[in-house]
């Protein structure tokens, strides 16, 4: 028979009513809480029985306290034991007791003191972390708006990493805001009830919001672990860094180091780990190994210090459209590269047919193309607008999209990129086919009606493979 059981804690820190009710139900089913972890609660098997639970708050405790309970905590437990309350488990400010006597004097008998004690306890970790989370969500949102992320909306939504960030930021908002609103609303009612009526105010939490957070975290982890090797490695390095910091914190707690020593050492380790991570590991991780289909070749060039030779890579990926489909060329050393990325909202294909490094004199025509398929209709307009505004900042850009005739391309709408300084058209077009955006750059290829039609035929209806 199973002797232990773990459960994800979905209760808010202040929701003592919810926790007490749940623990009483668990005891009636034969499970008694024995440990509170960061995220999981551990139960042990007992005879099913009617137990009364009480969640008490001990504001003087912190997450960094030594594992051996303080004199104050022991005294608090002695007081509770005198009234028949047995400690089931505790973590930082949260202390959970049970009693076999249904008529035992409750741990908290006065509402005014209970509300104030809970508030002092909540200020230590719970509220602080929620305000920080809200601050981070605001920072990322502000960063996104100020950083003109809307221009790159289609790209952000097409890449798993940035797409996950798009999910994480609203979730951070939702969780922190709903928890803060829930707590302060409860506190306002509880203070009024306690002072005016001498009554306790029951609490309640939003388990759905907590569950959403855990689901998102699981999704981000799963997404990172099934992404490219570079993403997987970066994620694992971050995870290892987090693990090192937590391990330091826990070892110091077990060594009974004071909370101040624990916090100081943990912060120092945190800084060191960040330095190692950002200075040593991440720059190395950024150098992705060449994919198996890459053909290495040496490229020599002249620099200040003389001749330098570097290894570059040529690719031979199948492309939906080749330069040779549109024009004749003698050049036969093309690198054909294609990169696909996809999320539930946007699929992006980037492909190019380019000359190799060093073959500058060949003057061979080249082709670069990005195709976005926007799966969610309401996102299409902002994604398109973002792309059209890509060159809108006159401080940096002399280019601009101007609407062109879409008919030769077989497209719904078409724009051509223009150099605004000397008012000349460039060889770049933005084409729209339904909810597909095609941005194509045809350097050195003279386009006529037949070629435009061919591009439309190949890319406008090009099915995702």
């Amino acid at each position: 028979m199973q002797a232990k059981r773990w459960e994800l804690n979905l209760y808010s820190f202040y929701d003592h009513t919810g926790m007490e009710r749940h623990l009483e139900k668990m005891a009636a089913k034969g499970w008694l809480l024995e440990s509170i972890g960061t995220t999981l609660w551990r139960y042990r098997r007992i005879e099913p029985q009617k137990l009364r639970f009480s969640v008490a708050y001990y504001p003087d405790a912190t997450e960094s306290d030594p594992i051996t309970p303080s004199e104050g905590e022991l005294t608090f437990w002695d007081y509770c034991a005198q009234a028949g309350w047995v400690r089931a488990a505790n973590r930082a400010q949260l202390h959970i007791f049970y009693n076999t006597d249904e008529n035992a004097v409750p741990i908290e008998t006065e509402a005014v003191t209970q509300v104030e004690t809970l508030h002092r306890a909540a200020k230590k970790n719970y509220l602080l972390s929620l305000w920080l989370l809200l601050g981070m969500a605001l920072f990322y949102t502000g960063f996104g708006i100020l950083g003109n992320s809307f221009q790159a909306l289609a790209d952000i939504l097409a890449l798993r990493g940035t797409f996950m960030m798009c999910l994480a930021v609203p979730t951070m908002f939702l969780v922190s805001l709903s928890e803060l609103i829930g707590y302060y609303r409860w506190r306002r009612r509880a203070v009024r009830n306690a002072h005016e009526l001498g009554r306790f105010t029951p609490t309640r939490s939003l388990p759905g919001v907590q569950l959403l957070t855990w689901l998102l975290l699981a999704l981000i982890t799963l997404s990172a672990l099934t992404d490219s090797w570079a993403v997987r490695r970066t994620f694992l390095v971050y995870f290892a860094a987090f693990f090192v910091v937590r391990l330091t914190h826990n070892i110091l707690r077990r060594m009974n180091a004071s909370a101040t020593v624990n916090r100081t050492v943990t912060i120092i380790v945190d800084i060191l780990v960040c330095l190692v991570l950002f200075v040593v590991f991440l720059p190395r991780l950024a150098q992705e190994p060449p994919p198996p289909n890459a053909e290495p070749y040496e490229h020599t060039y002249l620099s200040m210090g003389g001749k330098k030779t570097v290894t570059e890579y040529a690719y031979h990926d199948p492309l939906p459209l080749y330069v040779e489909d549109l024009t004749e060329t003698d050049y036969d050393r093309y690198s054909c590269k294609r990169e696909d990325s996809s999320t539930p909202l946007v699929t992006r294909q980037i492909f190019s047919q380019e000359t190799r490094w060093g073959d500058w004199d060949s003057d061979a025509p080249e082709l670069r193309c990005t195709i976005y398929d926007i799966r969610l209709a309401p996102l299409f307009a902002p994604c398109l607008q973002g792309k059209l505004n890509e060159y809108a900042d006159r401080k940096w850009s002399m280019l601009d999209y101007r609407e062109a005739d879409a008919a030769p391309w077989g497209a719904d709408r078409a724009w051509q990129l223009w150099d605004t300084e000397d008012s000349t058209p460039c060889d770049s077009w933005l084409l729209v086919y339904g909810r597909r955006i095609v941005i194509i750059d045809l350097g050195g290829i003279e386009m006529d009606g037949a070629r435009m039609a061919l591009v439309g035929e190949r890319l406008g209806g090009y099915a995702e493979k």
Partner: protein
Amino acid sequence: MAREKFQTLTEQMFYVLLCLREECCGMDLMTRIGEVTGGRVSVGPGTLYNLLDQFAAEGCIVETKCEGRRRSYRLTLRGEELLRGEMDRLTAQMNDYQRLLGGGETPCKLSDGN
């Protein structure tokens, strides 16, 4: 701090202070309050622990003895003033009741003799 730094006392605050007119161990206070009030008022261990902590911080009580984890406390002058102030408030309430509903007599005197 509870009740705007003890401007008024709840019943449980009142009895905690009252029972500390004589030195008493914190843990024994729960029993003593029950005896003094004939079981009418019970103070839970969490409430008692936090009240003792707050009263000590405000200088209303003082720790007199520490035997292991058994700490004893006694009321200070500030605590006595607080208790007297609360008694006056309750007396004034009682007198108002007596004057308006109980036959016009003033049955109790306040601590300053009025």
